[in-house]
């Protein structure tokens, strides 16, 4: 991101430019800057050109860089990702857009059989510097197949980085890093945060924690909420609400599921002694199980209570009119936090 600094405009313009920016716009800026800096960066996908993507995340890229750099492809996800593999073999850095979470499934074969393992099977000869952008998750009233959280499938596939930003600064910084990465990155975009705004300066993006590191969004002493993507703001709200009940919650935004930042997570949980993992995707076989296991393995003697999970139910994503009952909200998180008072329960149960 060194060149971002050299392209920094004069201070006056910068101050004027500093206004709340939606997350989608920061993603757009990240692609624009990456394309300007490196002619090998190519964006491709359905409706990414003229339309600028159905969420307008690629808006203006085709105009600025031409159809060859930002390409409307035929409607075929396996074809898009498969072609990206070939492009990467020839030295390009494809940034692929999957229009919606559930429409990435036709590309699974390419992702799992080739993208994820090409480096390994060719003994390092063929890296796959591909970024696969997937808008994911619910909460926007989308009809069937528009709200899946598929991260568990991705993290179960060795060879892929799996990351998800929750702040505007991270949207920019992490996408820049994903594009610059010599390994494939599944870049999960929490679509209900596309319109969330932050006071972020698009002219002078500050460095963010690199991919692979978690960020402590709120410090606290009595328990840690471990979360990522769309659930980060929900956890922040829960943490605020919990103060009324005497809880001082720490909120850790994992940012990256693969690689996983054991260090930050472990340090936090050892400090607080309690942890709840929060995510939208189903709990059974979901990322929370892996995270809870890792935390337990590393923090066993520091834990005052088992690591709990608050997740979506283990059902196909429900229709929009019912989704609020499915998505983990503040109340469900607070209920779990209450259950963390394990010691006293255990004591009562044993008649001590």
């Amino acid at each position: 991101m060194s060149t971002a600094a050299t392209r920094r405009p004069a201070d006056a313009t910068r101050a004027a430019a500093r206004k709340p920016t939606p997350l989608a716009q920061a993603l757009n800026r990240a692609m624009r800057d990456a394309m300007a800096e490196d002619p090998a960066v190519h964006v491709l996908g359905e409706d990414v050109g003229t339309l600028g993507g159905v969420f307008r995340v690629t808006d203006g890229l085709a105009k600025e860089f031409g159809d060859d750099r930002c390409t409307d492809t035929p409607l075929a996800e396996a074809g898009i990702l498969g072609a990206a593999v070939g492009m990467a073999m020839y030295g390009l850095r494809p940034v692929v857009e999957m229009q919606f979470d559930a429409f990435a499934y036709p590309a699974f074969e390419q992702l799992v059989s080739h993208v994820a393992r090409m480096r390994n099977r060719t003994r390092g000869a063929l890296p796959m510097p591909i970024t696969v952008r997937v808008p994911y998750g619910g909460g926007i009233g989308g009809v069937e197949h528009h709200s899946d959280s598929s991260e568990a499938y991705y993290i179960a596939t060795p060879g892929l980085h799996v990351v998800t930003p929750a702040t505007v600064a991270d949207a920019y910084g992490m996408l820049r890093e994903a594009i610059a990465s010599d390994d494939p990155v599944v870049f999960l975009e929490p679509k209900r945060l596309y319109w969330s705004k932050d006071d972020w300066d698009p002219q002078a993006p500050a460095a963010v924690e690199p991919i692979g590191r978690a960020a402590v969004r709120r410090t606290g002493t009595s328990a840690t909420l471990l979360t990522y993507g769309p659930s980060v703001p929900v956890c922040m709200e829960a943490a605020e609400a919990a103060t009324a009940e005497g809880w001082d919650l720490e909120v850790v935004d994992l940012r990256s599921l693969v690689p996983f930042d054991d260090e930050t997570v472990t340090a936090s949980v050892r400090r607080t002694g309690r942890a709840v993992v929060v995510h939208e995707s189903g709990g059974f076989g979901g990322p929370g199980g892996e995270i809870a296991a890792r935390v337990t393995e590393r923090c066993f003697h520091h834990l005052e209570a088992p690591v709990l999970r608050v997740a979506g139910f283990d059902i196909p994503y429900p229709p929009p009119m019912l989704e609020r009952h499915h998505l983990p909200g503040v109340d469900r998180i607070l209920d779990a936090v209450d259950r963390l008072q394990w010691e006293s329960r255990w004591t009562e149960g044993n008649g001590r």
């Binding site: 359905e46 409706d47 050109g49 003229t50 339309l51 600028g52 159905v54 409307d72 035929p74 409607l75 075929a76 996800e77 396996a78 074809g79 559930a102 429409f103 499934y105 036709p106 009233g141 989308g142 009809v143 069937e144 197949h145 528009h146 059974f284 139910f313 283990d314 059902i315 196909p316 429900p318 229709p319 929009p320 009119m321 019912l322 009952h325 499915h326 109340d331 469900r332 209920d335």
Partner: protein, 391 residues
């Protein structure tokens, strides 16, 4: 380089005998889309009238559904305005025992086949994914992932034939959907199995923002059939009678064991992709206006009028019937959906798992707590009012 006859001992062995599996010529589509309206062709008046009534209803249905999105009664609606001829002909060409495999834009085809208009919109309203029982109406659930319903149609048609039933499956797909792998796999299976299935591509010019020229380099989408070994047919998708004719031929052929057909109907999407889309970003008014002049409802209306098969009264009667349907639809959609949050756990498995039973109990407790909370709030409010009144 000139090649002269070998005079020496070198005589390469001739290649093993080879011939193409099928003769491609009869599979090729006609040069121009098949049309009958305005050509003076001999047509069945009863069929024309029925198509007309359904077209008028269909147009009204599209308008009403679009209006419902503006009132927030529908989460989203992908309008088929301009494509009613394809939707209606697809529905009318099938026998009751046949099956329809629609995509997300084809609610109208489902309604024209007899499905309750409000029920057909359940998916798009957002109260449940599929609002009807496919086995009762022989309409597969509206498919959102593109082209994924096509292999299903092939499998069902194949199964019916294995069972000895003369059932035909008709599957609908858009021009964009023809790029998906599932489209190609479905066509190939259908041809190899000679399955009684008909594929209808509604080529409406765009896949969201992507025009046909960026979707395919084939001369027409109907040409794609030839490579799989089935006939490809081109039809004017705004000429309801022509679409019906071509589909009827294909269905008949399939029913008699002649195998699958790919039909491309050339039409146009008059509205944006959905109410959430901004079509001005990728197309100009002139193109839309040119197609408005070739409107499927107006085409059939003027043909019927010219043939003396329709007068002002007939037109008024058709519109009245359409208004009644629209009013029913409004009533149906304005009624609050009956939603039970506990239904989230129904039908995930034939028999609920222990995990899901636990989660259901959790939700039940949450709902009860929320109810109690509400009741408490209400009491507090009433007490407050009481105090205020007392003052």
């Amino acid at each position: 380089m000139t090649v002269t006859a070998q005079t020496g001992a070198y005589r390469p062995a001739p290649p093993p005998q080879w011939r193409p599996l099928t003769d491609a010529a009869p599979l090729l589509p006609d040069e121009h889309p098949h049309r009958v309206l305005g050509t003076g062709a001999e047509l069945d008046p009863a069929l024309m009238s029925e198509l007309y009534t359904q077209l008028v209803k269909g147009r009204r249905y599209n308008q009403q559904a679009t209006a419902l999105t503006k009132q927030g009664r529908l989460a989203v609606y992908p309008s088929s305005t301009g494509q009613e001829a394809c939707e209606v002909a697809a529905a009318l060409v099938l026998e009751e025992r046949d099956w329809l495999f629609p995509s997300y834009r084809d609610t109208l085809a489902a309604v024209a086949r007899g499905l309750d208009p409000a029920q057909a919109l359940t998916l798009l309203r957002g109260d449940w994914h599929s609002g009807y029982n496919p086995l009762e109406c022989r309409i597969a659930p509206l498919s959102t992932p593109l082209a994924t319903q096509l292999p299903h149609a092939v499998g069902l048609a194949h199964a019916a034939r294995l069972r000895g039933d003369d059932v035909v499956a008709l599957a609908l797909v858009g021009d964009g959907g023809t790029s998906e792998g599932d489209f190609h796999e479905a066509l190939n299976f259908a041809a190899v199995w000679q399955a009684p299935v008909v594929f209808l591509v509604q080529n409406n010019g765009f896949a969201i923002s992507v025009p046909l020229a960026k979707q395919t380099a084939a001369p027409t989408l109907a040409h794609k059939a030839v490579g799989y070994g089935m006939p490809g047919r081109l039809v004017d998708g705004n000429d309801a009678v022509a679409v019906h004719e071509v589909l009827a031929d294909a269905v008949d052929r399939a029913r008699r064991g002649g195998g699958p057909t790919l039909v491309e109907a050339v039409t146009y999407r008059m509205e944006a992709h959905t109410n959430a889309d901004d079509a001005t970003r990728y197309r100009g008014d002139a193109e839309v206006e040119a197609w408005r002049a070739h409107d499927p409802v107006a085409l059939l209306e003027s043909e019927l009028t010219q043939r003396g098969l329709l007068d002002e009264d007939g037109i008024a009667a058709a519109r009245e019937a359409a208004e009644r349907m629209a009013a029913d639809l409004r009533d149906g959609m304005n009624a609050e959906a009956e939603l039970d949050p506990m239904s989230l756990f129904d039908h995930v498995y034939a028999e609920q798992t222990t995990q899901l039973r636990e989660q259901a109990e959790q939700l039940r407790a949450e709902l009860a707590a929320a109810d109690e909370h509400d009741a408490h709030d209400e009491q507090a409010q009433q007490a407050q009012h009481g105090q205020e009144d007392g003052r």
